[in-house]
């Protein structure tokens, strides 16, 4: 008994093969490519008792002809690698068609085990099988399974192991006999083929003869003896003369005849119609009038769900990453300039966090797509879209990858595998990046609220998505009429009956694609985040253009002098050190607290010191004035802060009745304070508005200026500045340029970079301060141009990498990169210049 066996899984598309493969191998899978072609090769292992079983999932195929890459690949695998067992997964609710492949496998001579999958459906439809009889007809053990519930797996493996260790019967009688005339020709060819020992050893002489009669190109190419080919050609014309129909069709007829005969004897159907419910649903859904609106409605629903349901988990993840950043930063003393700390907190956690935040959104989208696919609706959607897509020059099947592209381009490009024609496939791959992916959302979320009033925001977002779609249409048409000229592949799409998706199946399908997004985050984006962090942090400037230290000192001195001037207003002696002392104590506390985290003893200690100092001052002569002053100051501050917090927290728009209400409350509070302390009120206001606020503003400006200097000194900054002449026609400046460099690597990085560039510290798309910065630096027109450029220009590195992988050459990936970027540039320049001339949004 062998300790390791190799099993190949074959079956029609839609037969549930992949689900069974996943059930059997779980996470122990490996996905690769068959050499030279972009057909996926999935392998996995499972242990059954003492035996290790290696399972290879062959591509879904309807037969073993040589007309599609998948079929040839499957065939070659079976012949070259001679697996111990082939399991044919059969959709038992559509038996006869599915058995066509089984018959072909038998003809190839492989040891077969049949899995009657979807047996729950078959039972529901009233089919009853005489399994032993069928098993005899097809010379293979039959196991009933329900793939998406994971039922029957053990029995399947039992059958596999039993068949593998059973003695292989010698030259069995052929299953299907093709009638007197054809059989005669087969015999003739077999004797000739027998001479080519190598070939007949590998493939079996009879099989070769049959294939030659069918005109199989692949076999013809492998036969070296021209005599054999000639003989086959003669046979074909002879037979077609006798039978009066194409030979291939006739032979297919015999196969179906055998299957039909076998089924008539072994299958009983108690209910006639398989498609009853599906028919009724279809008459509505594929209806010429209602089909499209229903489809659009469903699409809208899908997007609504992903955005709204995704919110809470997104916020949760954001908070988690923020906390993580805080914790990690806590390992270093506060304010530390450690490079490692910066790398970890700003670079890694900030960068990667920005990607992971979108995971809920993306997973929900993939879940929705999985529901549509598993239930069978997708096929109808492709059918409905085909007419439209055809007009653009795309294939109806392009629709699904494009839909996936709204989540992430990487799984979308992989999904183009279902397109048979290379032309269709390449065109679709090249335009998929225009389906605005999830990574671009933070860019829009940052910019739109910063520049556009509430009422315009949702329409703006829609507009961006729509522009992407329209551009894709235009570009696709362009590509199809130039580079990829030619007929689109014929549209053949099987419409499986509607079925209720299982939770298990949905989760598997959702995760298959979601995992790719995560992997992208974990690898490429991580590297890029680190790279960008390095580019923006280094080289560090040591000597600055402005002497920041002494300027800061001067500002502080001016502040304190201004405070001293207030002495007169409060009827204190001119040289009184009360106010100045109190303010000084507060500044000292602030300085000390910079160096400690809130929990540390030093933090509380600094506050205690300040309190002691102020208490001492309060006890001295005229100390009560100080106390009143401070009390009022805090009161006014609180009224103002409460107002701004309420506005920001609830997102109250200026000019709305709510806003007026909050302002009124604030003003009332202020009036009450004034009434209670009429003499001191005015000086305190003066302090707040003319001394303290300018003081803080000046310090902030100083800090920003310093950071900007640092940034422009760094590599990224220099690149941005160097690019400025190119960016100008679009209305961009070097800062945007720096952010775009980061965005090239991964779109999510754009927002983080903008935060760095405007030195707002940690920025995300919710950052009010970043939004304020942006709206004060740029016009709405420029903002729109930024979004436009980001939408169209080069997709992220991960997309380019996957394009290269799926298309098989760098040529297409680079075309995608270059073409989209150039288009983006031209378009943005046009929009900006036109907007400027027309005076829109400037």
């Amino acid at each position: 008994m062998k300790s390791k066996i190799v099993v190949a899984l074959a079956g029609n598309p839609n037969s549930g093969k992949t689900t069974i493969f996943n059930s059997l191998t779980g996470s122990r899978q490996h996905v690769g490519n068959y050499p030279g072609v972009t057909v996926e090769r999935k392998e996995g292992t499972v242990k059954h008792g003492d035996i290790e079983i290696e399972i290879v999932d062959l591509p879904g195929i309807y037969s073993l002809t040589a007309y599609s890459v998948e079929e040839v690949v499957a065939r070659n695998f079976l012949v070259e690698e001679k697996p111990d067992i082939v399991v044919d997964i059969v959709d038992s609710s559509n038996l006869e068609r599915n058995l066509y492949l089984a018959v072909q496998l038998k003809e190839l001579g492989v040891p077969l085990v049949l899995a009657f999958n979807m047996s729950d459906m078959a039972r529901a439809l009233g089919y009853e099988y005489d399994l032993p009889k069928l098993s005899g007809f097809f010379e293979a053990p039959i196991v009933q399974t329900v793939g998406h519930r994971g039922q029957g797996m053990k029995e399947l493996l039992d059958a596999v192991v039993a068949t593998a260790s059973a003695e292989r019967a010698g030259c069995a009688k052929p299953l299907v006999e093709y009638g007197k005339d054809i059989e005669r020709e087969i015999t003739g060819i077999v004797s000739l083929v027998g001479k080519d020992a190598a070939m007949s050893e590998k493939y079996g002489a009879r099989w070769l003869a049959i294939k030659l009669l069918e005109g199989d190109r692949d076999v013809q190419g492998r036969i070296r003896d021209p005599e054999i080919i000639e003989r086959a050609a003669k046979s074909v014309s002879r037979l077609e003369g006798i039978l009066h129909e194409r030979l291939e069709a006739a032979m297919a007829g015999y196969r179906y005849g055998y299957i039909s005969g076998a089924c008539q004897e072994s299958v009983r159907s108690t209910i006639e119609i398989r498609h009853h419910w599906s028919d009724r649903i279809d008459s509505v859904v594929t209806n010429r009038v209602m089909g499209l609106p229903i489809f659009l409605g469903l699409m809208y629903l899908v997007f609504q769900l992903t955005f709204t349901l995704g919110e809470p988990p997104m916020e949760w993840i954001e908070a988690a990453f923020g906390a993580l950043g805080g914790t990690v930063a806590g390992f270093w003393p506060k304010g530390s300039e450690s490079a490692l700390k910066s790398l970890l907190v700003d670079g890694v956690i900030g960068g990667v966090g920005g990607v992971i935040v979108f995971l809920p959104n993306i997973l929900l989208l993939f879940l929705a797509i999985a529901i549509l696919e598993d239930s069978g609706y997708m096929a109808r959607a492709a059918f409905i879209m085909d007419r439209l897509m055809h007009k653009i020059g795309l294939h109806g099947k392009s629709f699904i990858p494009m839909l996936v592209g709204f989540g992430c381009s990487v799984p979308a490009i992989m999904a183009t595998r279902t397109l048979e024609s290379r032309r269709d496939r390449l065109t679709t791959m090249l335009v998929i990046p225009l389906m605005s992916c999830g990574a671009r959302l933070p860019i829009y979320a940052l910019i739109i609220p910063a520049f556009f009033p509430q009422a315009w925001q949702a329409p703006m977002l829609w507009a961006i998505y729509l522009i992407g779609i329209l551009l894709a249409v235009v570009l696709a048409k362009l590509l199809r009429s130039t580079l990829f000229r030619g007929e689109s592949a014929a549209f053949v799409m099987e419409l499986p009956p509607y079925r209720m998706p299982t939770v298990r199946g949905l989760l598997i399908h959702m995760w298959e694609r979601g995992w790719l997004y995560l992997k992208k985050a974990g690898t490429i984006i991580l590297c890029i985040a680190i790279l960008m962090w390095a580019l923006t942090s280094y080289p560090k400037k040591a000597v600055f253009d402005r002497d920041y230290e002494s300027e800061a000192d001067r500002i502080e001195v001016a502040y304190l002098a201004g405070v001293k001037d207030l002495n007169g207003k409060l009827e204190l002696p001119g040289e009184s050190g009360l106010l100045v002392g109190a303010i000084r104590a507060e500044l000292a506390m602030a300085a000390k607290q910079e160096k400690h985290y809130e929990g540390e003893p030093g933090f509380a200690e600094a506050e205690r010191e300040k309190d002691a100092a102020i208490a001492a001052l309060a006890r001295s002569e005229d100390g009560d004035v100080l106390t009143e002053f401070l009390e009022l100051r805090d009161g006014i501050r609180k009224a103002r802060d409460d107002f701004s917090q309420a506005v920001e927290k609830d997102g109250v728009a200026e000019g709305s009745p709510e806003y007026a209400g909050l302002a009124q409350a604030r003003d009332n509070a202020l009036k009450r304070i004034e009434a209670a302390h009429p003499d001191v009120y005015a000086p305190v206001l003066r302090f707040l508005d003319e001394a303290e606020t300018p003081f803080r503003e000046k310090l902030v400006e100083l800090e920003r200026s310093r950071k900007a200097e640092e940034l422009s000194y760094s590599i990224a900054g220099r690149i941005g500045k160097a690019l400025e002449p190119v960016l100008e026609p679009m209305g961009f400046d070097w800062r945007i340029g720096t952010a775009l460099i980061g965005a090239f690597a991964a779109k999510e990085v754009f927002v983080v970079q903008m935060g760095i560039v405007f030195s707002v510290g940690e920025a995300d798309e919710q950052s009010e301060s970043l939004r304020k910065e942006l709206s004060s630096h740029y016009s709405p027109l420029v903002a729109f141009c930024i979004m436009l450029f980001c939408l169209v220009s080069a997709p992220c590195m991960a997309t380019i990498a996957i394009t290269r992988q799926e298309s098989g050459s760098w040529k297409w990936a680079l075309l995608q990169l270059g073409g989209l970027t150039v288009t983006a540039y031209i378009l943005t320049v046009l929009v900006f210049q036109a907007g400027r001339l027309a005076g829109i949004g400037v």
Binding site: Y62, S63, T65, Y67, S93, N94, L95, E96, R97, Y100, L101, E214, G215, E245, R246, E248, A249, A250, A252, G253, Y256, R274, H275, S278, D279, D282, T286, R288, A379, F383, I384, D386, R387, G396, A490, F491, V492, M493, E494, L495, P496, P497
Partner: protein, 71 residues
């Protein structure tokens, strides 16, 4: 007549397809062999034709359906 001439709801039998090897092989694998019974489920306007063969339901592009001969 060609498949595209068949009205929605009618049943016909497959005769042959006016096309090359590839098309034939493909259709055969899907069950479209001489004598196979086809029921046309939807044939409107200029979009694909939906039909059922045996227990399978499928949609075929108009171009392809045009080439299929039935009686």
């Amino acid at each position: 007549m060609s498949l595209t001439d068949v009205k929605t709801g009618k049943r016909v039998r497959f005769v042959a397809v006016d096309g090359g090897h590839a098309l034939q092989g493909r259709l055969a694998a899907l069950g479209l062999v001489p004598g196979a019974e086809i029921q046309v489920f939807q044939n409107e306007g200029r979009g694909p034709v939906i039909l059922s063969v045996g227990c399978s339901r499928m949609a075929l592009g108009r171009g392809m359906a045009d080439k299929i001969l039935v009686i």
